[in-house]
């Protein structure tokens, strides 16, 4: 099912530091960190554990099921970042 990051993300990387499977990118030391608007979750690598949700200070992370109707585009954006 996977989680999805939306554009209220401030790229603080707390989710990156809480993720047990390293499925959130880009990180600060990766090339497109500056230009990308928000961090992205790899939908095929995500294990749907939810560890990223409580550490996000801006409540930017949702399950696919709970993604608000006006933010559905971020599911595709997260997947597209990983070429999926």
């Amino acid at each position: 099912m996977a989680y999805v990051i939306t554009d209220t993300c401030t790229k603080d990387e707390l989710c990156v530091e809480a993720c047990p499977v390293d499925c959130i990118h880009p990180k600060k030391d990766e090339p497109d960190f500056e230009e990308i608007k928000h961090l992205m979750i790899d939908p095929e690598a995500c294990i749907d554990c939810g560890a990223c949700v409580p550490v996000c200070p801006t409540n930017s992370i949702f399950t696919l099921d709970e993604l608000p109707a006006d933010q559905q585009q971020f599911a595709a954006a997260n997947a597209a970042y990983y070429g999926k």
Partner: protein, 354 residues
Amino acid sequence: MPTLAALLAENTREGVLWERLDERRIRCTACGHCCPIFEGQAGVCKVRFNSGGKLRVPWGYVAGAQCDPIEKKPFFHVRPGSLAYSFGMLGCDLHCGYCQNWVTSQALRDPEAVAPVRRATPEGLVRQAVDSGAEAVVSTYNEPLITAEWAVAVFQEARAAGLVTGFVSNGNATPQVLEYLRPWVDLYKVDLKSFNDRHYRELGGRLQPILDSLRRIHALGFWLEVVTLVVPGFNDSEEELGAIAGFLAGISPDVPWHVTAFHADYQLQAPRDTRPEDLLRAAQIGRQAGLRYVYAGNIPGGVGGLEDTQCPGCGERLIRRRGYRILEYRLTTDGRCEKCATAIPGRWAMACGV
């Protein structure tokens, strides 16, 4: 009324299986997730949490405890016909859509999973085990790796009382937890649910830590039996079952492999239940891969001789079973075929008198 999470937070103590990661995070090493955990947060299992820079872990309660036939765990090569005193706590590090123990395993995630807990002591549990005639004490029902410290406390008492100890686990372990358990755990059952990493991620895990753990469990000398719940459309292709069986045979052809039937449960209601012919096919794949002890489970009386233990040397039927019952037992006291004296691997001592 306190929430379940608040109630469980009280029943904790400082854990053993963790390390400091940096000034803000600790890392739990009880399961293959190796969660990095910030102050005030819990790991994926939701029962191990960071409080004041230290890991708190479940302690002093059970969500269920009862005597079951040891065949139900299933351990088929351990004291056949004996009772295993089985206890569990709450929580799991995976979230399988077809879990048959979801009321306990998903209690912290799913508001519909409501499981009562009661306070317990290792001494009290082992006394109950002894009083009910059990020969083994087994941590099961929820994932025992995430409550490993409590299990060891119970097993230390169990050993002192002369009982065998066991884990019924998804196998998503770490080198650290297996080293920690080894002195106190005799038996280890692993559910190898798939051989496909994508599938494992759907269940909330990864394949590699489980494969690494299977090799390590065997190498460390635990008595290992493996179960694969055959779920039509999920893991029952020739290719996937063949890969599982080949991997196990590569560890040892003596590892018993139980292929068991799926019945719709929890969130997974489709596509259909496993049929006897599905299990016969899976068992044949296991035999072709070289496994000597392949069993078909959950369809008592419906799978021919696939509930029985046959001698790989001469083909003699040595243990005849139906469901959890032992109908016939013909191993010698030192665990050999009574006809050709081939040694059958297992922990047979004090076998039942059928």
